[in-house]
Symmetry: C2
Subunit: 531 residues, 2 copies
């Protein structure tokens, strides 16, 4: 191959294409957050980048693999030279080749499911084959961010009927890896989210596993919330485990608490999330497809699903909660998944801590039967675990809660958690002296009365601004909950941060709205939920 000097550009442009073919791959140390970007020098002899730019995506081939990327045009040879093809970190990792290897570039053909996408945009109902084609293209990163968004908006709200939700769920479950535990009963629980501090999985899994049922729990990391179960579990143990090691742990201990990302269970979902989250679109159809496709791909046979209801929860009215419940039940039945949907109290955060270390502290206090353990977290975990235990044919209907409580009170849940933590790779953590972030400030009551409202969204935002989940010790420590009586000047919550800028962002947000309502006892919103 002829070596092309990056400067002057004129020399390169004058060269005929054939000599420079193919390009030399180069890792560009830019993290573009789930969007593949290819960087090409403006004077690239062969392709002259501009011809490509307006046209959707480019296709990069190397090492027998093929990825699609958005093209950025570069004028700085320190980033890429004329004969080089730069790739952002994600894109580079997907190709899995070394720097300097040859790569081919071409204009990407539009994804073959685009006509189906257009029909959906135009309001048509799509069939099973359409969803399979669309989901395959999405999982293979053949959709641009614009096309992804178009799909998410076009399938929003009333635009999907329940058969379509089933087709979408099935297609999403089929496209990735599928685990088979070769057991009759593989139980899981899932919460639709939106409630800070709600770390019941870390209590439910050791209880269920101690009972002997198989509970291979994989969880997500936070995207826009202050902590996901994987972030909090990571305070205690490693959560990024190869799938083979995970299987070993599950076989030995009957449960695990790992990050689901390595398993590639529903790759289309991971891609869709990248546009759903920024838009805060979480329509019933998309939520059901996302959750149930992952559960089926993970090999679950039985699922307890938690729908929290409250004025600042994701679901804000009982009719809405019931509609969502029916949709989960309809699709789960078609996917051969046994489901038990519970509608729970989502009026405020669960537990006291919001942020990985604070939440891990709460969880360990519950497991150790520490008197400082938050009772709402304990009660909710026991009730969920009780429902899951009743999937066991040998458990009498109604006995689940008592069995769960016995497993927790006797210390068997703690012993099981210790075993899982050791198996995954324990990290040093002392819940009596949790390593909180070094800076803090307190938010105090500006009037006396009864706490009548706690805004889930605002407290999540404050914890997030304080640095959670990236700063494990950052977040919010709630000292008051709904129904508590406070005097003027009482501390409502404490905010922890490691960095001055984070602390100030959080302080400013808390100043605009503390997220607490204080009034009289009769203003407390009542809820008639299962628990």
């Amino acid at each position: 191959m002829t070596k092309i000097d990056p400067t002057p550009p004129a020399a390169a442009t004058g060269t005929n294409g054939e000599d420079a073919f193919p390009l030399v791959l180069r890792r560009v140390a830019i993290d573009t957050y789930r969007e593949n970007v290819a960087y090409l020098h403006r004077d690239c002899a062969l392709y002259r980048a501009e011809g490509f730019q307006a046209l959707s995506k480019v296709e990069v081939r190397a090492n027998g693999r093929r990825i699609l990327a958005t093209l950025n045009v570069v004028d700085d040879p320190r980033i890429v030279r004329c004969n080089e093809l730069g790739l952002s970190e994600d894109a580079f990792a997907q190709l899995d080749v070394a720097n300097g290897q040859p790569a081919m570039l071409s204009q990407a053909e539009p994804a073959s499911s685009i006509p189906a996408l257009r029909r959906k945009i135009a309001g048509e109902r799509l069939g099973r084959a359409d969803y399979q084609a669309i989901v395959r293209d999405i999982a293979e990163h053949r959709y641009s961010k614009i096309e992804l968004t178009a799909f998410v908006v076009a399938t929003n709200q009333g635009e999907l009927d329940r058969e379509e939700v089933y087709f979408l769920t099935e297609a999403m479950a089929q496209v990735g890896e599928r685990l088979d535990w070769r057991e009759r009963l593989v139980v899981d629980k899932h919460c639709i989210g939106g409630i800070p501090g709600n770390r019941t999985s870390m209590l439910v899994v050791p209880i269920i596993a101690a009972h002997g049922m198989l509970c291979p729990k994989t969880s997500s990391r936070a995207i826009t919330s202050p902590a996901g179960t994987a972030d909090t579990m990571e305070v205690l143990a490693s959560v990024e485990l190869p799938i083979a090691r995970l299987a070993e742990i599950v076989r030995e201990h009957r449960g695990c608490l790992a990050w689901g990302g390595t398993a590639q269970l529903s790759p289309a979902d991971d891609v869709l999330i990248s546009v759903e989250r920024p838009l805060s679109i979480d329509s019933p159809g998309q939520m059901v497809a996302s959750i149930l496709s992952k559960k089926c791909a993970a090999g679950s046979t039985h699922l307890v699903l938690d729908i929290p209801l409250g004025p600042t929860a994701k679901v804000r009215s009982m009719p809405e909660a019931q509609r969502l419940r029916k949709l989960f039940e309809f699709v789960a039945a078609r996917m051969n998944l046994t489901i038990d949907v519970v509608i729970t109290d989502g009026r405020q955060p669960i537990g006291n801590g919001i942020g990985p270390v604070l939440e891990a502290r709460d969880v360990m206090r519950v497991l150790e039967n520490d008197p400082r353990a938050p009772n709402d977290l304990r009660q909710k975990a026991l009730r969920l675990a009780g429902r899951m235990l009743e999937f066991d044919p040998d458990v009498r209907g109604g006995d689940g809660f008592a069995i769960a409580r016995d497993i927790l009170d006797s210390g068997r849940a703690l012993a099981k958690m210790d075993a899982i933590v050791r198996a995954q790779g324990a990290r040093p953590f002392d819940h009596n002296a949790p390593q909180l972030a070094r800076l803090d400030f307190e938010v105090r009551a500006e009037a006396g009365g009864v706490v009548t409202a706690i805004d889930n969204l605002q407290l999540a935002r404050i914890a997030r601004l304080a640095g959670a989940p990236k700063v494990k010790g950052a977040g919010v420590d709630l000292l008051r909950k709904l129904g508590d009586t406070v005097a003027t000047g009482d501390v409502l919550y404490r905010v922890h941060a490691d960095y001055v800028a984070d602390l100030e962002f959080a302080r400013e947000a808390a100043r605009r709205s503390a997220g607490f309502g204080i009034g009289s006892a009769d203003e407390l919103p009542h809820l008639f939920v299962e628990f």
Copy 2:
């Protein structure tokens, strides 16, 4: 300000935020194609980039200005150092500051119209104030690409009623600059697009201006087509003129043919196009709002609007064309714009050339009354000009065509074109020896018969792949048109390209489909259109 050494990162991370505040601005020579991107080093002391990344956009303030950008995280100090804030070329140009100036970075508040956007996504009808808020946010680049796409998809097709189209048009016209020519009659013409080679504006403007009517024509460059009027006019003259100079030329010559981009007439439209084009969404509501908002902002009082109809045109049936016509008429009336909508023959490209130089050759041949001039281009331009001339109260109904023909045949149109070209800054061009791209290949008839179909989309694609419009001399030269009789092996068209790779891309596309249908004379599709 404390100078922070880019390596080792640990040193920078250990520094407290306050010292490093603000960041140092740096132009990063990456062209991200209409998307502002900010680059921050992963170890940036103050902000620790990751905390920002999942959350929509960041706000950059410098020089009293403020822009929003998507954040990319960088691990290479040659791109940005720990104390620097890198900006992509577009973003850097928008701030209009020098390298090394201080800049502040914060998390962007969500655009204030997002709740209205969410209502539209949920299928609600929006009011005038909603559209004004949304369009303002879009014009100020406060929407992410994802939010933009959500707006475009949610307002697609049947989702906008005609009142809403009017609100959207009005909001788009109000948000940018507005020209006022201080004359009673300011005429313009516009085609909804999709027909290659359709360069009637370059004939209509000199004819109308020679008649003495004011015709300040601003045009677009091609985005996904092989040439826009601005690209073709640029073969003859400069088209990027400061608005003051443009006004002088128009006052002196009664017309101009300039690029509309410098005028900032409908900045929201420029932003929306960046997602509409890749999705090929061109819904009636969005098309009407886009076109009429620009015309009103440009100060036009009278408009002839061309809707080409044909099997590979944008509009493919007469009922669809009529519906679109009514929508244009409804909105134009409310915007106080006099409109004359004509439905024209869109079954094939207009003229012979597709690509800037080839089209400029055709236009000049018509103006010079050269016998080689394509007659379809001449006829269409005369008819459109005739309709525009009839906006003049002194022209009798039906006389427009004859007046236009007289202006063209007498050489007055050519003289006016020469004057405009000189005023804008002439470029050397000889239509008897146009500078075509140096490489070419021919596409020949594989069977004998009559040309019964020419695919506008495929010929545009081939011309685009050959390098048009970036390579001015590239494109397609049509030697046969609908109804022509050909023998096996006759040349249908010639493709010109400057680069081997482009030539091969175009050849491959032509091999897959030449874009010509050959059959018997009775298979020619008939159309009953005005002209």
